[in-house]
């Protein structure tokens, strides 16, 4: 029994399903038809801008908000008839919501107390939970005697001590500084690995989402724009919103003139472009080609070919391990290029230089011009 004795075997690990879940506040939809399936033991992250409906979705799963329509199903059982206190779902709140009038140990014991687990068993599990989050000697303190990171750990311990099959976390690291956040990310991952429960996690920090998740659901305007692994979302975003929200993308307008074995051939101001047909466009569609700054290479413009863009360097940004160049193209659009330090040092590039960029068609995505 090394470290973990919150018996993984006895914990049931939930699957969760949201079917066309909607939440209206007056006439406006905070959540507008969300569908998703959380697999057993999966770590799924909601990523999206402020006001996109992440918290509202989580609150409906926890039972703190009632959906206007749609169904939420936990392990095959509809959750709608259950009040929050009978759902047995752990939740970590953004500002922790530790009870200020109770000690750390009392806070963690609270869910056990509600489940009539008393005496030695309660003591043992509180001590266990405290040890698991690395605060074995903090039981007698009050929450206001803890640092932000310590409060966060206590909130985590309290949400896990009753071994919920599903854990919800609403921006649990939002109030911590970068360094502590990175450390806590790893700890949460470790706990997830050790205890194995399913997790729904909310953040608007894309790096955090990339590091932690099995899958990411990108929210916008109350809808899931795309759901998939970090790599899928980053390499194959299906809309302009996702391409722009997760990482940085250069967008070049064009019109689809031909379809060629999974690729789109487009006509643009920069001549012919080729890109992977991610958004399943048809000939004649208005489109954008989204290409990541690190996929662009600086090249020799002498031979005419596909995926070639000329521009003038307006800014050079030193980033240590890499350099970022901001270009103005002929049609006055901005593009950014990222170059690794070794490559950048081979020939220096300065503001005012005319350079030419190229990329492989398969490494860019053709997306609908709207949305």
């Amino acid at each position: 029994m090394h470290g973990i004795s919150m018996d993984k075997e006895s914990t049931t690990i939930a699957t969760l399903e949201l079917r066309d879940v909607r939440k209206l506040y007056g006439a406006t939809a905070a959540v507008d038809g969300v569908n998703l399936t959380l697999k057993r033991g999966e770590f799924l992250t909601f990523l999206g801008p402020s006001g996109s409906g992440k918290t509202t979705t989580l609150a409906m799963v926890a039972g703190l908000q009632t959906p206007t329509s749609g169904r939420i199903i936990l392990d095959g059982q509809p959750l709608d008839p259950l009040p929050p206190y009978r759902r047995n779902i752990g939740m970590v709140f953004q500002h922790y919501a530790l009870f200020p009038h109770m000690t750390v140990a009392k806070n963690i014991a609270f869910p056990l107390e509600m489940r009539k687990i008393d005496g030695e068993e309660r003591k043992r599990r509180v001590a266990e939970a405290l040890r698991l989050v690395g605060l074995p000697d903090f039981g007698d303190r009050f929450p206001n005697q803890l640092s932000g990171g310590q409060q966060q750990r206590v909130a985590l311990a309290r949400a896990m001590v009753f071994q919920p099959p599903l854990l919800l976390m609403d921006e649990p690291l939002g109030a911590l500084d970068k360094k502590l956040r990175e450390q806590m990310q790893l700890e949460i991952l470790r706990l997830h690995r050790d205890l194995g429960m399913s997790i729904l996690y909310v953040t608007h920090d894309q790096e955090e989402a990339l590091v932690m998740s099995d899958r990411i659901a990108v929210f916008n305007d109350g809808r899931i724009q795309q759901i998939g692994s970090a790599e899928e979302l980053y390499e194959r975003p299906i809309s302009r919103f996702v391409a722009g929200f997760l990482g940085e993308s250069n967008m070049i307008r064009g019109k689809v003139v031909a379809l060629d074995s999974g690729d789109c051939v487009l006509e643009s101001r920069h001549g012919r472009l080729r890109a992977f047909n991610t958004a399943k466009l048809k000939t004649g569609d208005q489109a954008v080609v989204a290409v990541r700054p690190e996929r662009l290479t600086i090249t020799d413009p002498s031979i005419e070919r596909e995926n070639l863009v000329k521009g003038r360097v307006v800014e050079v940004i030193y980033l240590g391990q890499s350099r970022k160049y901001v270009l103005k193209t002929e049609d006055n659009a901005e593009m950014t290029v990222l170059q690794q330090a070794q490559d950048a040092e081979k020939h220096s590039i300065n503001p005012g230089d005319e350079i030419c960029l190229e990329w492989r068609g398969r490494e860019s995505n053709a997306l609908a011009a709207e949305g």
């Binding site: 206190y85 919501a97 009870f99 200020p100 489940r115 206001n144």
Partner: protein, 279 residues
């Protein structure tokens, strides 16, 4: 920070108030207090009289009991009202504030007379109860303890509600939500989370009500019977009927000390409580 913003010499602005307070409060009160040990002659005879005569002890007992019971009922009635104000819609909140503040539009004396009209033998309440067939003969609602409680609770209720409300609006909803997700059904949730978090408001409201009640005069005088005399009435009686400034002074000392001790206890309790409160 603030001090640097203050224009130089602004301390003079408090001078009129200071003079006023000194002249009309500090001086007469000190004089009365001095009288307690110097009238009719130097010594503690006035305090000895308070201790020896049962009437004075009974009045002191009345004062504490009436203040305590009034505080209790203010808390019982005020808590749900403050809760509704803090957690209801803005419309409900505005309506309640309005209703609670209406009594302040009239003077205490007028309100007390209004209670006399309502509570007397041929008053509205007895008439209603009789015509509803709930009672056969009028009930004594006035010139007894009940009358005092009704009048004082009504008058002092806002002093309970507003401190309570100001604490309640600052209780984050996420505490109760967290308790719910951790498995607390509504009633346990309330008693384990909301009530303890609102306790500082109850204590400050209760201390305000209790301390105000200790010195109450008009309401017990008009709505109570002879057996319900409180200390302020006794002080008035000693002076206006017997001209006994010494005994009045001694009673005033008791009232002052009693109030001071109550305040100290409340501060003590609140101070301990404040240990867990977020800054």
């Amino acid at each position: 920070m603030l001090a640097s913003l203050r224009p130089r010499g602004a301390g003079w602005l408090v001078l009129p108030a200071a003079v006023l307070l000194l002249l009309f409060f500090a001086v007469p009160i000190s004089w009365l207090l001095a009288a307690s040990v110097s009238y009719p002659q130097l010594g503690l005879q006035n305090f000895a009289a308070l201790y020896e005569k049962t009437i004075y002890l009974r009045v002191l007992g009345n004062t504490v009991v009436i203040s305590g019971v009034t505080t209790f009922w203010c808390a019982i009635i005020g808590y749900p009202l403050a809760f509704t104000m803090a957690n209801g819609s803005p419309r409900v909140r505005r309506a309640l504030v309005f209703i609670i503040l209406i009594p302040f539009w009239t003077s205490l004396l007028v309100r007390t007379f209004a209670w006399m009209v309502l509570l007397q033998k041929q008053g509205l309440i007895n008439d209603l109860l009789m015509s509803a067939g709930l009672i056969d003969s009028p009930v004594a609602l006035i010139y007894n303890r009940l009358g005092v409680y009704i009048g004082m609770v009504q008058v002092l209720l806002p002093f309970m509600i507003f401190p309570l409300y100001s604490v309640m609006v600052r209780i984050d909803k996420s505490y109760s939500q967290a308790a719910a997700t951790l498995g607390a059904p509504p009633i346990r949730n309330f008693f384990r989370i909301y009530l303890p978090l609102s306790l500082p408001g109850v204590l400050s409201g209760a201390s305000l009500v209790f301390i105000s009640a200790l010195g109450y005069y008009i309401t017990p005088a008009l709505l109570g019977g002879p057996a319900d005399m409180m200390i302020a009435q006794m002080i008035e009686k000693q002076i206006s009927q017997f001209g006994n400034w010494g005994l009045a002074g001694a009673l005033a000392v008791v009232l002052l000390v009693g109030t001071g001790v109550s305040l100290a206890i409340v501060h003590r309790v609140l101070g301990v409580r404040a240990g867990w409160r977020r800054a």
